[in-house]
Amino acid sequence: MSIYWHLPIMIIIISLVYSATRYDQWGMILREAFRWGLRMVSFLVMIAVVLVVLSFFI
């Protein structure tokens, strides 16, 4: 199994815990956690795309 399968657990927990330290209201916590999760996934996908593109040329 690829080690990357362990990544979603980390993304979900970091998003939830970080957001819960920002707000006390569950609605706000979940909304903020979703936003942070999306930001982290977008960032990782961006890095992956850059690496894949580079691998074609190098």
Binding site: I3, M10, I13, L16, V17, A20, T21, R22, Y23, W26
Partner: protein, 178 residues
């Protein structure tokens, strides 16, 4: 507006005791303050992440090793602080509270740590080489989980101490007597 919403709008008072509880066991300070849901979220998330990483790392990535003195910025640093230099991951793991104290007991009182049965004991050089050479980088990924859990608990401790970063302003009543 529900009763819970009104309670959420009360400003949090600084609480060193709640912060200490959240250091000892993640989320315990919030539970003590009556923020039970959040406390349980912190407890299960952080313990889940920490022990998941510990388990992925062959249960041998939380420890404090003995080692020689180190030199930082021209200054000689001896044990026990030098041990953090040999294993900087422990500086992050430390914030998980009591669940990493066995590592400190193993380091400080190895002769009295028999009751821990090797739990959080520093692995031998051969064992470390085996873990790092024969794996698929999972051992290296695993300690990241334990360190991230510890670092997140610093935020949880601060939340217990001073409340969440963004607190709602108390709403003024629409009608107030003059």
């Amino acid at each position: 507006m529900t009763t819970t919403d009104r309670q959420d709008q009360r400003p949090h008072e600084y609480s060193f005791f709640a912060a200490l509880l959240s250091y000892l066991v993640p989320g315990m300070g919030q539970i003590y303050q009556g923020r039970i849901g959040k406390g349980l979220l912190f407890f299960f998330s952080l313990y889940g992440m920490f022990f998941y990483g510990w388990w992925l790392g062959d249960k041998s990535n939380v420890y404090l090793p003995h080692g020689d003195s180190i030199v930082v910025l021209g200054k000689r640093i001896d044990e026990p602080w030098a041990s953090i230099g040999h294993r900087p991951q422990f500086a992050g793991q430390f914030w998980m509270g009591v669940c990493v104290w066995p590592a400190i007991v193993q380091y400080r009182f190895p002769e009295k740590a028999g009751f821990l049965r090797g739990y959080q004991r520093a692995p031998s050089e051969e064992e470390l080489n085996r873990l790092q050479k024969n794996g698929d980088k999972l051992w290296d990924l695993a300690w990241v989980y334990t360190v991230v859990a510890g670092v997140l608990n610093i935020l949880v401790i601060y939340d217990a101490f001073a409340g969440p970063v963004f607190q709602l302003e108390p709403q003024k009543p629409e009608w107030a007597p003059v």
